[in-house]
Each structure stands twice: as structure tokens, then as C-alpha cells.
């Protein structure tokens, strides 16, 4: 049994890559910035985004492809960044949650829609839902309620029971999808919510 406080034997300079590990250079455009990056070939795309780029808005809920928290847009398609290797993102264009709002903080219409619908609680799942919604509305600007449910069923939320998230997508259809309108027309969606009544 070894004495872990005797670290001299086991200490390694951080920079030295472990044996057998190789690196590769990739070129990616992330949120409109194109750059080259030297990355470890075994690094997941999500770790690259969070650690190398410091874009921590992309969350990891399961790291095995089920929860959808890590969803980003890769060449316009929603992908689970925990399931992809960073090397596979070479020569692609990526949008993460940080790439949506205006620099002055003005929310993107989809974010605005979720804000208006009281979409999230702890919001750990929110980036994944926002990106999934973006992909959905880009390909189908006017989805039916059932299509919305279906498309969002790949993202897990443990807090909300989905109601307000689905309402948020419906609002986003108005603000961003086919029926694009001025955001100011949308009022408090919750109190007009069909499922809610005051006795």
C-alpha cells in the first residue's frame, strides 16, 4: 500500500501528455469566431467547448447521450456534444448558447420566449432546450403542439414537468418562427394559460 503523501514519485508536469495520447489541430468557427485549436484526439466536443473555449453554458447532465443538456448546433443541426469527439468538429460551424443573445444582453427571441413563459427553474437543462428549439424552428418554423412535444422529448428536465417549456416553444413560434411578431405584443402568458384557473 503506497503512501499518497509521498508524491515525488508520481508527480508529473501537467503539460506532458499521457503516453499514447496524441493531439491534432482543428479549425472551427464557434459563435462567429474562427480559430485553430490543438486538441487531444480523445477529447469530447463538450469538454472542448467547456474547457478549452471556456464556454460553460453548454452543460453536461449525463455524458451518455440521453439528457440533451449538452445540445449545440453543428452546421445548423442539433447535436449532443457529449457524444462527439472534438476532432470530428474540424471544419464545422458551431453555435452554443452563448452565441444567441446580442452583445448588449438583449435576449434572442427564443430566449425571450422562454423568459415570458417562465420556462425554467434551476435552468441546468435550459441551454439544451434553447438549442433544440432553435434547430426545430429553423427547420420547421410552424410546428404543431404534438410536433413540439415530440421534438423536445430528447431533452430531459427534472424541475418543470415540461409545461412551461412547451409554452415557451409555442411563444417562440410567435417570436421567432413563422408568425414572427414584435415581442412587445406578447403579454403575460402564464395568467392566460388555458390550463390554469382561479377558483
Amino acid at each position: 500500500m503506497s503512501n499518497p503523501t509521498d508524491r515525488s514519485a508520481s508527480q508529473t508536469p501537467a503539460a506532458q501528455a499521457p503516453a499514447g495520447q496524441t493531439t491534432r489541430r482543428i479549425t472551427v468557427t464557434v459563435n462567429d469566431t474562427t480559430a485553430n485549436h490543438d486538441i487531444a484526439v480523445r477529447q469530447s466536443l463538450s469538454d472542448f467547448i467547456r474547457e478549452d473555449l471556456g464556454l460553460t453554458g453548454t452543460h453536461l447532465g449525463c455524458e451518455h447521450g440521453v439528457c440533451g443538456a449538452c445540445t449545440i448546433l453543428l452546421d445548423g443541426q442539433a447535436v449532443r456534444s457529449c457524444l462527439m469527439l472534438a476532432v470530428h468538429a474540424d471544419e464545422t460551424t458551431i453555435t452554443t448558447i452563448e452565441g444567441l443573445a446580442e452583445p448588449d444582453g438583449t435576449l434572442h427571441p427564443i430566449q425571450q420566449a422562454f423568459h415570458e413563459s417562465h420556462g425554467f427553474q434551476c435552468a441546468f437543462c435550459a441551454p439544451g432546450f434553447v438549442m433544440t428549439t432553435m434547430a426545430l424552428l429553423n427547420s420547421n418554423p410552424n410546428p404543431t403542439k404534438e410536433q413540439i412535444r415530440e421534438e423536445l422529448s430528447g431533452n430531459l428536465c427534472r424541475c418543470t414537468g415540461y409545461h412551461t417549456i412547451l409554452k415557451g416553444v409555442e411563444t417562440a413560434v410567435q417570436l421567432y418562427g413563422s408568425g414572427r411578431r414584435d415581442a412587445s405584443e406578447t403579454t403575460d402568458t402564464n395568467r392566460q394559460d388555458g390550463g390554469t384557473a382561479n377558483a
Binding site: 508529473t12 453554458g57 435576449l107 423568459h115 434551476c122 434553447v130 430528447g154 390550463g195 384557473a197 377558483a199
Partner: protein, 866 residues
Amino acid sequence: MRKSLAKQALNADTNAPAMGRFVGQSVKRVEDQRLLTGNGTYVADVNPEEVVHASFFRSPYAHAEILSIDLAAGLALDGVIAIYTGKDIERLTNPFAPLASLANQYTPVFYGLATDRVRHVGDPIAIIIATSRCIAEDAAELIDVDYKPLATVTNHREANDPTIPAIWPKNDSNVLYEDEKIYGEIERVFARADHVFTETFSCHRVSNQPMETRGAVAEIDPDSGEITYHAATQSPHLLRWILAISTERESVVESLKYLATNRDRLKKFGAGAKAFLTEKKDDLAKNDSTASTNQIKKDPSTLAHLGRTFFNTLGSRRYPRVVAKDVGGAFGSKGAVNREDVVLLAAALDLNRSVKWIEDRSENLADGGQAREEDMTISVAAKDDGTILGFRVELVMDQGAYPAVPFNCGLFSNMIKAMLPGPYRLEAFEMKMKVVASNKGRYLQYRGPWANETWVRERMLDIVARELAISPTELRQKNMFGPEHLPGKMVTGPDLDEDMTAAATLAKAIEVADLPAFEVAQAEALTIGRHLGIGFATYHEAAPGPDNFWESVNPGSDAFLPERVDAVLGRDGSVSIKTQQLPHGQSHETTYSQLAADELGIAIKDVTLVYGDTDNTPFGLLGTGGSRGGPVGGGGVTFSSRQLRRLILDEAADLMEASVDDLDIIDGKIHVRGVPALSKTFADVARAVTSRGQAASTANAIETHVVYSNAGNGGWACSTHVCWVDVDLETGFVTIPRYVVVEDCGQMINPAIVEGQIRGGVAQGIGAVFYEKTVYDESANFQSSTFMDYLIPTAMEIPEIEIFHLETPASVEADFRGVGEGGMIGSPPAINNAVENALAHLGVRITEQHLPPTRILELAGVIEAE
């Protein structure tokens, strides 16, 4: 006796603002700007300079002796900095000593890492520190442990079998706690009954599963040695204490010496302790002192550990600052202190550098928190006419291997006991409680830790109704506390005030449900082979409950319940509210700002909520939990803000040479009523206080605080759930065409947030009934370690949930009752009752909560039961 601050304030305050500008509105969330743009700071986003990474090596065995551990290959891997095992942790830390043990309970004493044996799959054996998380995980693969497998305990039957050796050898058996309470004349009541119905109910093990797993960053300043512990926690102050007492290894003598030479520390602590002990004398006197005596008899080392705990609490020099910014959900699980927390901090202190640990989903499923696995046998004494006289209940809870810290099944079983009679008028009640140990993950509090009392009672009432050929709703109405019985008292002791409106929620639910129309539809559907059902469940929830609630659970345990809230005017005129609450989805920044803004006559954006930093928030051990954020924290915000308003107006009155009674604040401007043109701002007031040399501190002009417990002798949130189901006997799938919640939580601060809490809770109940199950096989091997095995419901599975609010006006101010837990309390029985109602004509009786498709088909006789 605690005074009702609310009632006092109502009478005393002539300067209360015109209420209701924000409170009661579905104000949009303040948190959203940060969280919707990816700019939150969850613990995984914290990366101090030079941080290194930890991963835990965990047991693949359910129960085994550790013969030897070979770390050589792991240590040899490039990038590995250190590996610590149980032997090191024994040297570097103190064990978890039983802090909340009951009489007749044995609470194991254990360390953060397994020392001599492993007790469940996932039991941490070693922590690996490396330059990256993946190298640490690689090294874990290289650790070689020699195990000697031991007999496993996987269920209640085995736990009760005296031939199976105890998992905790210092206890004689795997039964950790046994107790019994009788209220009323139980024998006589049962002798008088026309009928006694008995049934055994069994609930499966489920898991909290917040979307953010557990994690922490122990940040050490290598020069100053200062410790900042960033954590995904619900209770930062609790975590701070336990980290300090667990990692302080000074001897008692050294601690005393330190105290003797640090008079300030001693004086401060002494004063605090004296105030606490004087104030809480009555509460503390109720503590059962045999609890520790029994524990010490079984495990004499407890005494040494408790002694050290006490002196370390006094003398520790290693109190970390605990910080938490955004937390990705918890549902109770992050209110417990993790074994990993203590190990991580010990390793970081030993290495004198910052270390980060973010667990993966499989670890969270194995030991991030499990709950609800209990069996209850209930006998109901009833009269022919449906009058229910009493219950006799036997409960067995499966705690798993290690008790959660600080609250464990001993306490939870007593919460079940206190609440099981529900809002019904029983003459007598008997409760036998037993907690057993098994080779499974930690049982901890999960959204309404007592919820199975409602499940068993409401399920059983349906069975009794069927036996007596009375409608389930009529049976409930006949036996429930109605307005004519209030104020009253539960048979277990807690007071019920006039605002305990369970009966009103049931009446409204019956009206909404339109049962006659449903029965016609049900009969019609059956003719074409469709099975429709409807189920009701009613409960009342102590949120926070009356003054004497905790007395019926565990006397003395309410000493820590009152909560301090600070309201502060900065020297720059800004307003902040400081709370010991730790929001993790409940939107405190919005709701507390609504409350403070209304009191102070300012905008929501002008209030800053300070939370999640033990250096800068009032002390409180509970953090956010127990549906207390609205009633206790929210009440505290109201009254501390009101106090601040008064102090601001006093100062303004001097400044403006006006009478304080003539002043008003509108949109942050202080002026004489009717003369808005001449006004002063909060900044003017702050400047005046500061220039008089009266500023409260270097940063603040005025600081004020309130310690608050509840709005009087009620505090009951009440609700009735109604579930409609459509059971497909071809596939076994159940759809929910309609779901209604009728609830009364008193005045709502923010209806949209209340509704979000309710729907989220119902969704977890739907998950528990149809999808979620933490599975161990017959040798306690863990079978549900991914989201492919443990099924969290998606948007496809959760129906629309309609909510009706009664919002009964309360007789006292700030009577916001908690809603965090109720959704999950009401839903499992409503769903189970609906399914049984749909299949009643087939003779189906549901006694297990979990109803996956195969179980539905088995119950209906479509397929053979296994």
C-alpha cells in the same frame, strides 16, 4: 414560546406600504437573464487557477471485505498527483458521528472512504487526484483491490433475518431503529369497529436525480491557506460546519489551548452558544437524552467522536468559506453532506492546492441519493357507515448502507408517523417503525420525505370505500376535518387552524371532476374495451406547519428552525436582502425581490438578493428545503424589509423635517404624502447616516435583521389531486388524459412560480409510478446506472396539468405556505387510485406503487405474473 411576529407587526405598523404592487403577480424571473444566456455559474463552471481534478474509485461489490489495495499502476500513470484510500482518510479526517440520532437508533460511525469493507456498489474506496478528470478516471481503472465477498442484504426480509450478519457489526442486527407510538385508545377503538381492513403496501426505491450531478471545488489559496469550498449544495452553512469538524484533526487539548489563547473566538462563540441555549432551553429540554446513551453503549467510539466534534466546532481553524452560485436542482439530495465532500477537502488540504470533483451520472444514480423504499402494513378500523375510527400501521424503511448526513431514516419514519393520519379525524392511531440497513445506496430526503404516508392512506381509503360500497370521495368527506371541526388537532398532536382547507380542496376537486359524467363515459368506454379510471388523493402538508408540529415528529428538533433574514441599505443607497436560503430552481431572486420591493416602494431591479456565501449571509443550518422558502424565508424578507423601511423613513423624517407618519415611498423616492415634487432618495438617506458617522459598516449605511419562524399557528398547505387514466390492456401503457390539482397555499407571491413547483412535483410522481426505479438484483448488484435504465419522464410522458388555486385569505400577514414538495406527495396515490378504478371490474388491487406496463398486464391477468 415563539411569538407570532406577523400578528405583532400587523398591529404595530402604521407605516406599512400599499401592498401588492408585485406580490401576487407572475413577475418574470430575474434569474433568466443570466441562466438563459449560458452565463450561470454552476459548480462545474468554477475553475480556480492551477486546479487539479478528482475522481473516485468505487466498489463494484455490494458487500465485501477489502483485503488489499494496490495503487502502484494508478500512481505510475502520467498526470496522477496522488491517490488516497480509507487508511489515509482515517488519518486525515474525523468520521461522521451521529448528529441526529434518536432513542432506540443505532447510527453507524463511518468515514468518507471505505476503510475495511465496502457496503454497496459505488462505495468510494479511493480518491484519485490528477491533472485532468480523464486521467483521474484512467487511473481508477488501474487500481487493483483484493476483495472477500460477504453475504448481502437486499431487502426487508433479509434485513430482518437474524442469520444474515450485520452490515454494521457494532449493531447486533441489520435493524437500526425500532420504535412505537400509540395515540388514543387504540385497543378500544379497534374493538368497537364493525370492520378491520388490512393491507400491505410496498414502495420501490427511486432517486432524486437533479439534472446537475453532485460536485465541488475545494479552492485553497496556497499562500494564505484560506479555503473556499464551492459546492452544489442546498445548505452552505451546514456543509461548512461539517467540513470544519470533519477535517480538523487537532486533539481536544490543542483545541482547548487554541481557544484559551484566542479569547475573541471563545467570547464570540460563548455568547452565541449562551444565547442559543437560553433561547432554545425549552426546545432542547425535550431532546431525548437516552438517544446518545444508547448509541454510545453500542459503539463507545461515538463518545470520542462526539467530543471531538464538539471541541472542533469551537476550536476549528479550518472553517472553509462555502460558496454556491447556481445549483442545478436537488429535490433534497443536495441538502445532505456527501462523504466525498470531506474526502475532497481533506485531499486538497493535504496537497495544499485546489481540487475539483464533478461526478458523472452513473455515480449519481448509485449514491447521489435514493429514497422512498418502504413497506407499510395498515389496518383500518371502520364502522358500517364509513366512519373511520383509527389506523394501525407497521412501517419498515430501507436506509441502504450508509446513513445520510445529517438527516436519516430515523427522523423520516417519525415524519411519516406524524403525518399519516392526514386531514382525517381519527380517534386513535398506532405506529410501529423500523429502519433497516441493506447493501444499497444512501436513502436521503426526496421531495416530501414523508410522502408515503399520503400514498398509503389515500390508497387504503379507496380500498376501504370499495369494501364498504361507498364512493371514495364520500368516504373522504365523511371523515375529513371540515370548517366545523376547526380549529382542531391531529390525533398525533399538531394543531390545525381554520386555514387548514383540505376539505375545501376536495370539494372543489369533486366539482371540477364531474363524477356522474365521468361514470357514464367510463361505462361507455368499457363497452368498446377501453379502461378509463379516476383517482383522488387529498393531503395537508406542514409548510411550515404550526408551532407544535416538530414536537409530534421529534421533540426538540425545532431549535434550528427559525430563520434570520438581513435587510441592508448600502452606503450607495442600494438595497440588498441576505438570506441563508440557497435557491436551486425555486426562483428566490424573483420572489424575495417582489416582497422587498413592495415593502420598500422600489423596483424589483433595485433589490439584490445575497445568498450562497457563508461569509456574507446569516447563519442557518437548513438552507433551502422543507418547503420553507416561501413561508419562513419569505416572511423573514417581508419583516426585515419593513424594519429597514422604518429606519429609512426615520432618517428621512429628520432630513426633511417632516413627521415620519406623513412620509411615503413611491418608486424609490421618499416624500411627504401628496407632495411628490420634494423628495429624497435612498442614497440621500445613506449619505446622511454615513456623514453622521452612524454607518453600520464600511459598506453599509443601515443593517437590520429579523429572525422569523412562521405566520402563526397554521402553516398548512392543502391539496387534492385528481388523475384520469386510460389503460391500454394490449400494451400495458397508461395515458393520463387529464390531471387536476386543486391547491391552497394561502397568498401566492408569484403564481407562475407556484405552478411550476406543483407541475414539477406531479411530473416526478408520474415518473415514480410508471417509469423510475432504482434496481438492485438479488445479490444487491446495481442494475440502473444510466439514464437508459433509470427512466426520467420526457415531454411525451407528462400531460397537461390543470391547477386551481383556492388562495384562502389568511388571517395573518405573510402567510405564504410552501409548495415545493406537495406535487410529489399527491400524485402517486391519485395515479394508483385511478389505475385501480380503471381495472376494478377485473378485481385488481394495487398495493405496489410502481406500475410499469408489464406490471399492469400482470395485474389485469393479461400475462402471467412472474
